[in-house]
């Protein structure tokens, strides 16, 4: 098997004596859609935060494109082509939707002098295209704080897509979005994977969504990997049913 594009090795993280992650190994291969499920408090968001370097891990290493990024700053990883959304939505509430999009531009190849100019036309164009796709273009000049929860989720998805990253980490990105749009986003994810080889790591509580979309599923339980396999295998796994579905 080829080397993973994003890999966590033996990640351990404690919060004030509580073990949030214990020696978790996770490999994400290019072009794959991986689902991450587990009961509340099983460490899914912590794992996300660790992989995107929002919180430092106590032990373990993170590799992105074969490079050890354990000690890198979040913006460096973002510039290497990793984008994420947050479970608690992080949009800039006091700025307009469009400004939110402009801020999420790819910062990788910005020369210092360009920073002193307004956003370029192609950035504007891309922002509008994405707003169109996520059906929030009509809100472009509203402050993001005035949007509904679902609209903010869409905005966050659109923002994550702005820099055209190769790897998306989506933390419960589908909650609060209407089913029709969820179907469309699902199609879009498939399309991005098929045509552009994008990679996705999804945290979802919507099992159907995971089952439809994912190639592989990893189950976290009490900070450890409980099971790993295809959606079908996971659904049949007795441990998973016991831990997760609470039967």
């Amino acid at each position: 098997m080829s080397t993973p594009i994003l890999e966590g090795r033996k990640l351990t993280k404690t919060y004030g004596g509580v073990l949030a992650l214990y020696r978790v190994n996770l490999s994400l291969y290019a072009g794959e859609i991986l689902g991450l499920i587990g009961p509340n408090g099983s460490g899914k968001t912590t794992l996300f935060n660790a992989l995107s370097r929002v919180v430092p891990v106590d032990e373990g290493h993170i590799f992105f494109r074969g490079q050890d990024v354990t000690d890198m700053r979040p913006y460096q990883i973002a510039r290497m082509g990793l984008a994420r959304t947050f479970q608690v939505i992080r949009v800039y509430r006091k700025m307009t939707v469009l400004e939110n999009m402009l801020i999420s531009r790819p910062w990788r190849d910005v020369r210092p002098w360009d920073l002193l100019k307004p956003s370029r036309h192609d950035i504007h164009r891309r922002a509008w295209e994405l707003l169109e796709f996520f059906q929030i273009a009509h809100l472009a000049h509203m402050p993001a704080g005035a949007l509904s929860g679902g609209q903010r989720r869409l905005l966050e998805l659109a923002m994550a897509s702005m820099p055209d990253p190769d790897v998306f980490l989506l933390d419960e990105a589908m909650s609060g979005i209407n089913p029709t749009l969820v179907e469309q986003i699902k199609e879009r994810i498939m399309e991005m994977r098929e045509q552009h080889g994008k990679t996705f790591l999804l945290v979802e509580h919507n099992i159907q969504f995971i089952a439809d979309l994912c190639d592989r599923v990893v189950v976290l339980h009490q900070g450890q990997v409980l099971a790993e396999g295809t959606p079908a295998e996971i659904m049949d796994n007795d441990d998973v049913i016991e831990a997760y579905l609470g039967v």
């Binding site: 992080r90 800039y92 509430r93 801020i103 531009r105 920073l115």
Partner: protein, 339 residues
Amino acid sequence: MSRFTPPSASENPVRRYDIWLWVILVLLAALYPFTQPTTARLLIAIQMFMLITLASNWNLIGGMTGYVDFGHLTFFGIGAYTVGILMTRSGEVIFAPQLSFWQAWPFSGLTAMLFALTLGAATLRLKGPYFSIAMLATLLAMREIVRLFTPLTGGGGGLDLPPELNRIQEYYIALGLMALSVGLMWWIRNSEFGLSLLAIREDEIGAEMRGINTTLHKTTAFALSAFLTGLVGGFWAWQNTYIDPDVVFFEPRNLEMIMAAVLGGLGTVWGPPLGAAVLYWLREFFWNRFLFAHLLGLGLMLIFVVLFLPGGLVGLLQKGRVTSVLDLWRLQPAHEEET
């Protein structure tokens, strides 16, 4: 693609052309000395221009980036003492040729900026309130340090600068500095750099996750703000012809700089000039009769503005919602009004 709006239409037209209003105002102000004003009036104008410049510079780090700097006067002081020392102390303490004001002045900005870079490396890593208190402590410490290094700074006795009084010339320098500072703020606000600063203010982790090198951006803003503040300090020392720790690190000046930005509207381009002008007017025509309570007045005003005018005067003008004093009370719970 049916609803695709071309970029030009997506910009707020007011925001694009408001700079011309500023240019016209500055040009009009440039004509003022031709009306043969009295020296006292010129001095009032110079002081007001300096307050506007200071408020605008403070706004860059305190308002736009959201790092509330309670000790920004430190950079003013460094600028003032740089000019003072370079103009009077050469040969005695520092081995450099005696400099004229024009030769010494650029160094006031540069030393302030260097100090900001050094200090910022530590303090800008502190979040929110810790940064604020660290800067306040820096200001308190700086005043004592200046007092202690008597050979260099003249200690409590201060330094006398060679007087070179030409109020008209000073007027144009002050006007130029102000035009530059406010113009720069406008430019930054409309640039991607400005957007990134606003993003840092609202959600620094989010900005970082979206690929912005937050450390670089906020340090740049801090250093730029310090540079301009240092220039004002250097100019102030020269036109005042005398500096000592008490007149340079004058507490009301520190507070007025912050107050003007808050009153006008944090993070807005036109707030600090507006706020500073209003504040200066208040001081000249009202508070001067109650000088003993000047700081108290500023303190109470800060409380009032924070409680009832969170968007500042600019926010008020934009909303156009206040028709009576009673409305002020009702404005308070509207959280989205905050800048």
